[in-house]
């Protein structure tokens, strides 16, 4: 399967390419109160509303290396929509493995952790909102 790989807080994360809807840039992210630190805000893109998440903060709860006009990886799957901000987009790679949680493989000596959108969503849903 094709894996889309990006870097966030020194982690290499891979997401199956079929979940990638677009890579957007030059889109202003609207901040929202009462959300966890990793929740950057909302964007309205092509008629859809996306929650935008700083992946570095979600993975390590550390300040990310965001720049002013970040790329946003837009995911769309049957259960939801998310925009992910990486530190860096690495690229695509074909791997001979079945998609699954915690699947790991190597790319140029670095360990890439495969994640599904549902896993990311699960992490987000477990955070505190409204406080």
């Amino acid at each position: 399967m094709d894996i889309f790989i990006f870097e966030a807080s020194d982690h290499y994360i891979g997401i199956e390419a079929k979940y990638i809807y677009r890579i957007a840039d030059n889109v202003s992210i609207v901040p929202v109160p009462l959300v966890p630190a990793c929740y950057e805000g909302l964007i309205y893109y092509r008629g859809d509303l996306f929650d935008v998440i700083d992946m570095g903060r979600l993975m390590e709860n550390e300040a990310s290396t965001l720049h002013d006009d970040p790329y946003i990886i837009l995911l769309k799957w049957d259960a939801g929509k998310l925009g992910l901000i990486p530190d860096r987009i690495v690229g695509m790679q074909w791997v001979e493995t079945e998609a699954g949680t915690e699947t790991v493989f190597n790319k140029n000596g670095d360990t890439v952790k495969l994640m599904t959108p549902d896993e990311i969503w699960g992490k987000l849903a477990g955070l505190a909102y409204g406080t």
């Binding site: 929202v32 109160p33 929740y39 008629g47 929650d51 849903a125």
Partner: protein, 524 residues
């Protein structure tokens, strides 16, 4: 003029039913004993008959009635249909189409002859038809001109989104000096933008749905509820030709389901009770739509027993500790409005279908979210009427948009009483305002010293002095009073608990729509 209007509606509606009838006949031909399908076929023909009768199209109504009589036999299992019967129904449907095209009349000799033959067959026992020789093979006729398409709602949404995105390109036009931009180019750009806006609004019209279609969604449910509660109920739809945005209608589905369920479960009396009270055995529920200015008025009324005022008084006494003299001081509107309180229930016992005590509160909240209002009228043994007023636009609400710190918020305009500038003399007032910055944990952000947005009194009836105070919210700056496309909150943002939705402005900017009831509750 009125007659022409109704004839047009008749042609539109009947054509839709007859198209569906063809499809159902194809299905029933494969399962001749499917009683439910025969029931559906019966329903379609009955609907055409009802409209024909309303417009005094006697010949058409009589022909429909003859077809219905046979449907009933197959629907009840009294007779079994065969392929010849289905063919007769196909022929009958073709004839119905000719009737509809002729606004209830047929004059072609071929049609008149076919009417005579089919009517003769329908006057027989269906089993007699089976004894007749095989009908000749009919000549295949091409379907009529294609005038309407069924389009997936999501495609319309997608087209709208795309055209909105193209409109937003206007914002990315690089700044050009007067030297760089010729008069011709400037005029071309303006024309291009106006064409795009025209396209957007034409596309937006694709989202409209007649109220008639909306009302008919509930026909089967009302029938089932009536059976479950042992009631005889007819649903009537008035103003069905008014077209309303499908998004708005979709959000009204659940509230209307509650209203209609309550009307059947609590409003309409059993047939014997109605007869004793001098009423028709059949109860009547009317869904009426009308336009008043920029408002859509939707009324759901029934001719049942009216709201249970004793239950309301018992609630006021037992749950709110209200004294008799205070109850007497309440206006009729205030008294009836109590049924919209979250913990109110008049049902003596909870059933699977009604009496959970959450319905009216859910309805009131949904209507408030849509920027609408609801008035309740009820008279003992005469009936109950819910009058819902909604902004008659797409799923678009008008809202006051304001900035506080780095955030942009919206409040539906229908809730705003006034906007005042804050000057040095207003400091006393500011201290009385809702602490929105505190509620939103905006430490050190925004001054909240630009304007005060004063809300109207809460839409639900107030019964205490505390509730009489309207909410006041301080803003850094008012952006404007403008239309917003309201989108429901996602699962994550819904957890914040203080927002009612997300608003998209015409230029694509986003604002958060405040849930005033929750904010007032949190502030208290």
């Amino acid at each position: 003029m009125e007659l022409e209007k109704y004839q047009k509606i008749f042609i539109q509606e009947s054509s839709k039913y007859l198209e569906e009838l063809d499809a159902e006949l194809i299905q029933v031909e494969k399962n001749l004993q499917d009683q439910q399908l025969w029931g559906d076929i019966h329903g379609k023909i009955h609907s055409v008959k009802g409209m024909a009768r309303a417009l005094s199209m006697t010949d058409l109504a009589t022909f429909c009635h003859a077809m219905e009589s046979w449907c009933k036999l197959f629907q009840e299992g009294a007779k079994t249909a065969d392929e010849r019967v289905v063919q007769l129904f196909f022929d009958g449907t073709d004839l119905l189409k000719a009737f509809v095209a002729g606004k209830g009349k047929i004059s072609e000799p071929e049609h008149l002859e076919r009417l005579r033959l089919i009517s003769k067959d329908l006057a027989k026992d269906p089993e007699e038809l089976s004894d007749q020789p095989e009908p000749e093979l009919r000549q295949s006729v091409a379907p009529g001109k294609i005038e309407r398409l069924r389009v997936d709602y999501t495609l319309i949404e997608s087209l709208l989104a795309r055209s909105q995105e193209i409109m937003q390109l206007e914002k990315t036009l690089p700044p050009l000096t007067q030297d760089q931009i010729s008069a011709g180019l400037g005029s071309w750009i303006n024309h291009y933008i106006s064409m795009l806006k025209g396209l957007y609004f034409q596309l937006a019209q694709l989202r409209l749905m007649p109220v008639q279609d909306f009302g008919e969604l509930f026909g089967k449910t009302i029938r089932d509820l009536a059976k479950a509660f042992n009631r005889d109920v007819n649903l009537e739809i008035a103003g069905g030709e008014i077209e309303v945005d499908i998004g708005l209608m979709d959000r009204l589905r659940e509230p209307f389901m509650h209203l209609l369920r309550n009307a059947v479960a609590h409003g309409i009396e059993p047939p014997d009770e109605r007869e004793k009270a001098g009423k028709a055995r059949d109860g009547k529920i009317v869904l009426k739509a009308e336009r008043r200015g920029d408002q859509l008025m939707l009324t759901v009324s029934d001719d049942g027993r009216g709201l249970d005022r004793e239950a309301i008084r018992a609630y006021l006494k037992n749950k709110m500790g209200m004294r008799q003299e205070d109850m007497k001081a309440l206006s009729n509107e205030q008294l009836l409005g109590i049924i919209c309180r979250p913990d109110f229930s008049s049902a003596s016992e909870t059933t699977q279908l009604a009496g959970r005590g959450i319905g009216m509160n859910v309805i009131a909240q949904a209507i408030e979210y849509l920027g609408g209002t609801m008035n309740i009228h009820s008279e003992p043994s005469i009936g109950t009427r819910f009058v819902i007023s909604l902004p008659l636009s797409l799923s678009i609400i008008y809202a006051v948009i304001f900035r506080l710190g780095k955030y942009t918020f919206a409040i539906p305009t229908s809730h705003v009483e006034a906007i005042e500038s804050i000057d040095s003399k207003s400091s006393e007032k500011v201290s009385e305002l809702c602490d929105l910055k505190g509620l939103l944990r905006m430490d050190g952000e925004g001054t909240g010293k630009g304007h005060i947005i004063r809300m109207r009194r809460p839409p639900k009836p107030v019964v205490s002095a505390e509730e009489r105070k309207g909410l006041g919210i301080a803003a850094d700056a008012i952006i404007g009073n403008m239309p917003l496309m309201a989108i429901p909150l996602g699962e994550l943002l819904a957890k914040t608990g203080l927002f009612a939705g997300v608003g998209i402005m015409e230029n694509g900017d986003i604002s958060l729509i405040l849930d005033l009831e929750k904010i007032q509750a949190a502030a208290a």
